[in-house]
Amino acid sequence: MSRAPALPSGRWHAAEAIPWLLAIACFFLFPGYRVLASHVFIAALFALSLDLVLGYAGILTLGHAAFFGLGAYTAGLLAAHGWGEPFSGLALAAAVAALGGLAVSFLVVRGTDLARLMVTLGVGLLLYEAANRAAWLTGGVDGLSGVAMGKLFGVFPFDLFGNAAYAYTLAVLFALFVFTRRVAASPFGLSLRAIRENRARMPALGAPVERRLVAAFTLGAAIAGVAGALLAQTTQFVGLDTLAFHRSADVLVMLVLGGAGRLYGALVGTAVFMVAQDRLAGIDPVYWQFWLGLLLVAIVFVARGGILGAADALRRRLRR
């Protein structure tokens, strides 16, 4: 775990505008990559939700895609059955994913790291198989098609070039980032970090450890559900891979690549990961898998704290 900085003030630093300005600039600089960019924003939101669960609350999970998929199927099914309004779809997807997260959280909060890992892995696989078998509802391996989205605000249709998707996903990402940042800087967020650092001492301070962890896990699940719903709405398709194990593993890699427990790590890691994947996997998917594995090993041995952790260490050294 990275060293926690001093108490956060919650006040915005000027440098924090940079990633958002960059994101807006990319719309005009790389018009051919708007669809990819909207996928990056969705993945970043997903990584952000994992940051809350893993980076802040310290809950090791290998099945976070379960909630991504729940959100995606909820939004997809709504739209496929005539409810095409995007924002209410998001809200419902968040609610369903939160319910799922709440149910799983009771199994997760008590156990050791190993038990958590197994339960989340098991639930993830269970949902994947359930969606696979319930083909009458989900379309099974063929995926859920016939998702017909309504227009944004009743005005902007989702187009093939990803213009509406770009603005929509970026706006939702920003809104939920502000929300998550607020949560992380709140007394609740601080107590999560304290539980992560020393779980045994927190009850002595009067903090209800299990209830806090339940809340954090549920919130993380809800945000993951929104990310899944965004993918379903902007691509107008839901595949089984929204629930797949590799999605849980990939988001874990994105988060630790950027740096867990610092919110911006989720954004940086996702951007680097997705662009690298787009470049390298296009050349040869087997090579990509190999380099991904090597990258993971390298993060553990040389670059703990990920990109932002390494940047922090560099800055400290320069200042000295």
Binding site: M1, L54, L60, L62, L107, R110, G111, D113, L114, A115, L117, M118, V119, L121, G122, V123, L125, L126, E129, A130, N132, R133, F245, A249, L252, V253, V256, V286, Y287, Q289, F290, L292, G293, L294, L295, L296, V297, I299, V300, F301, R304
Partner: protein, 289 residues
Amino acid sequence: MYHPGVIGVLFDGLAYGSLLFLVSLGLSVQMGLMNFVNLAHGAFAMAGGYVCALAATRLGVPFLAALPLAFLAASLAGALLERLLYRRLYGASALDQVLFSIGLTLMSIAAATRLFGASQQPVRLPELLRGQLHFAGADFGIYRMFLIAVVAALTAALALLVGRTRFGAQLRAAVDDARVARGMGIDVDRVFTLAFALGSGLAGLGGALGIEVLGLDPTFPLKYMVYFLLVVVVGGAGTLAGPLVAAAILGVCDVAAKYYLPQLGAFAIYAVMVALLIAFPAGILGRRA
């Protein structure tokens, strides 16, 4: 559809379970006693499987002679990786161990795909091990009987090794309290390396024996990761009997689900998994609270 009957399902399940047990044994020691979450354990089983399959198809080594080769190759790989990489992460956070071992798994999958292709590897069993015996109203595959016998013999040998030999005593001392064991003059590092190599070798042997039952292709480490983990977690740490019981339960449940509820597919086994995890958070025969 061919139907083997209740006895046949039990028998097939036990054969399958004994394979799971053989592969998971090393993992049980690593996770339960050395506190290392090793998601890459299936990669050692896969390595053993490929050594066996390639020795048979490319070098013409007979199947039974290729089995010890699989054990040796996998234990060598285990010893090497333990010395170079695993050792540095003893005592690291579970997250670091998970990331590292997933990385290793991905690399092994990519390497196997590149070197041997993505297809299933065939295996030629010797004449002796093919066919079926028929008695008590059910068919018993000879190869599956051979599997159960090999695993039973190995389990007995391991129980003797851990319970009765000097190395076994050193291993038990080292995992109980490494510091005190060091103080008593036990070379804990060496003991851990040997234990890791032995566990990886058994996994390799399991991978080789399992080509006929589990199949062998580059996705093997991910496909069966859950089963191996489950044997360990449900079985609990610190005994031979725990994983044995867990593997038998899982094997029988999986085979029974495939015969009786084919429309559920893998859903059944995952449901059993989650139920077992909820019912036995410390493992069926677990010693820890």
